[in-house]
């Protein structure tokens, strides 16, 4: 009898506690809803209205904005151009940050004099403003007084000099390298955390078994850090497909030269907030671009999560 009563009380307490969970979550949910969910839904609603000029859209037009975006010149051309630029940008940044970040983290994790200082310094660029970084690199790459070309000349590599930010072939990769440099510290931080999480005994056992540094990376570090690669890639994906600041700082909202550095972020800003003679398409079209951007990022994140989760499961099964 007493036992039953205790069971009942404990079940009531558990229920009470469980009902408290949403209440604790409420503040977060309300803030998230007000500042994220509602604006996203509002933007989706706007995309079904006319967006001529700068005034708020008022006339319902159904899917007309989307039809124009996917079928009509110049909307389609600008949108597809930004999409492929974004894909290229993402691939370059992913490659640099994952490969260089991984090996830098492996290097820093070794015990040597000053490795702690190096760890901290590697994170410094992350703390800088993207606009400041963009402006500084623009100055360094300036063909008239930039230091970069001067260094190439000094090294007798003058034949390599290009109009880095003025050529359609070099501008996007150069900006991708700049942003990779800035956020490298974050990738290193993730990989360092992953390496720190690996059991020391496993590494020592490998050394005793005669594993060299390459074998250690191949058979222990790389498989253990696979989930981290996933997280870093997903963060880069989200960051790059919503990237705006660096393009604004180094290539203006027009994605100079001739839209070759135009990403979704700069496209959205330009078409939504600028007047027609400066490349604006109106609020409704801008909302349509934002909605498609949201869907691409949403589907992309689910895709990457699926890929890395499947890979993780397979590895677990293999183990």
């Amino acid at each position: 009898m007493v036992g039953d009563r205790k069971k009942l009380m404990s079940s009531i307490n558990k229920k009470k506690i469980r009902y408290f969970i949403p209440l604790f979550l409420a503040s977060g949910i309300i803030i998230y809803t007000i500042f994220m969910v509602v604006p996203i839904l509002n933007s989706m609603f706007l995309s079904f209205y006319t967006g001529e000029g700068m005034s708020t859209p008022t006339e319902f037009v159904g899917f007309r904005n989307y039809i124009r975006l996917f079928t009509q010149f110049p909307f389609k051309d600008r949108f597809i151009n930004a999409f492929w630029n974004n894909v290229k940008f993402f691939l370059i940044v992913t490659l640099i940050q994952n490969v260089v970040g991984f090996f830098m983290a492996v290097l820093i994790s070794r015990k040597f004099w000053g490795n702690k200082i190096f760890r901290r310094i590697s994170f410094l660029p992350v703390t800088l403003s993207v606009l400041v970084v963009g402006f500084l690199f623009s100055l360094m790459l300036n063909p008239v007084w930039g230091i970069f070309d001067k260094i190439l000349e000094f090294l007798r590599l003058g034949f390599l000099i290009r109009p880095w930010l003025g050529s359609t072939t070099t501008a996007l990769p150069v900006i991708a390298i700049v942003i990779s440099w800035q956020w490298m510290g974050e990738a290193i931080l993730f990989y360092m955390a992953g390496i720190d999480g690996i059991d020391e005994e496993v590494l020592e056992a490998a050394k005793i078994d005669g594993a060299g540094p390459l074998a250690e990376i191949r058979y222990i570090l790389f498989p253990s850090l696979l989930p981290v690669i996933g997280i870093v890639t997903i963060l880069i994906f989200i960051g790059d497909f919503t990237q705006f600041d660096i393009i604004y700082a180094m290539a203006t909202t027009r994605g100079n030269p001739t839209y070759s550095t135009d990403l979704f972020g700069s496209l959205f800003y330009r078409v939504t907030f600028q007047s027609a003679e400066r490349g604006g398409w109106g609020m409704g079209m801008g909302a349509a671009v934002a909605t498609i951007m949201f869907l691409i990022v949403f589907i992309g994140v689910i895709f990457w999560l699926y890929i890395f989760r499947m890979k993780g499961l397979k590895d677990k099964e293999g183990a």
Binding site: V38, F73, N142, T258, E277, R278
Partner: protein, 445 residues
Amino acid sequence: MKKSLLWLLIVLLSVSMVATFSLAGCKEKTAEEEAVAEEEAAEAVPEGEQVTIKLTSWRTEDIERMNRINAVFMEENPDIIVDFQPIKDTEYDAQLTSSLETGVGADIIWLRSFDPGELIYNGGYISELNDVIPELADFPSAAINAWASDDGVIYGVPIAGVTHGVFYLGDIFEQYGLEEPATWAEFIDLCQTLKDNGETVFAQGTGDGWPLYEVIYSGLGANFYGGEASRQALMAGDMRLTDEPFVDAFKAVDELQQFFPSGYEAINYVAMQQMFGTRQAAMFIGGSWEIGIFRDAELDDLGWFAPPVENEGDTLQYCFHVDMGVGINKASKNYDAALRYLKWTSTPEFAQLFMENLPGFFSYTPNPTGEYILEDDVALDNLNAASGADLTVRTVWERMSRQEPSGNGMMEEALIKMYTDVLTPEEAAALVQDALNTWYEPFME
């Protein structure tokens, strides 16, 4: 259990969404109510009490200069405080519209010429001025036209226009015994002389497209395509950009590419100004609004010449672009004070002050008491070039840039591609024309 948790979460989510939307609705209503209440309050303000009116423009660089001008107004009108609050050029249009929509717009608004300004008027945000400022009837019609609707409603006081031409460093010209060229052939010879002597001829780049279109093509190209007459014919659909005169203009300005500095593809507008301001090039093709900047850079030997004509004896086709108009916010809480300021902007006193403080911006205000005094000799050269010239504005600015693909944007793209050898002058002209053919009605007939 899980189901009830889920329901709770859904309820929370819905409540917060409904609350947000309702709050947004309430905000609008409250703003409206507040506007009415404050309007009533403003009317009730006894005479002699100070009111503050807010001015906004897209020129953040003018804060000090505008404050000097406004100080004169405030001295004459001690009951009004004028607060100049400009917004960064690239964000001006968006921020202005948002502020007007939400009822917090400035009292006095700087308006761009033609379509962007008309868009604000069509939105119902600014007042008609025909009856309240009758002096506007005396302004040149070309200027009034830039801030008036097709049915003759004037919604902006034209306060300034800008011109385009070629700045040069007098010392370098003197060093090689060069004189200001009058014809295009002389201009090209002069460029060649400078290049042969190892000088950087132009501080010009293609990093930004707008100077190529607004300054180089519209400024220097107008002499080749036939200026205002051809621009009007183009606007009416009687000419195309692919017609010979316009293509000739593309070809002429393309000739200058050989004199651009090394790496010009990556030189943007700011770098161009810095190059010339630090004497790293002999010439700079620019606009009159840059006089103040070069004066600040202490270029004492600054010289200027008008766009060279094609053949000797030709009339100069001078791009004297309508740049700044000023309108009054219909919903201004201090309407009377704002109107008093607006009326002041149409007086010769304001015009004189404006030209004094902002060298390179030229007023349209008629001056019945005599000539305006310009102390800056380069500004005076810019203004004097207009006498005897045929005046025009930027090639596809009016009507043809009303929507996407806009004439302005396409011109910028075409010229960058031409200067980076992606397109020939003929192809560049065709790129713009084809884009306009998709929506500009006179070209669709």
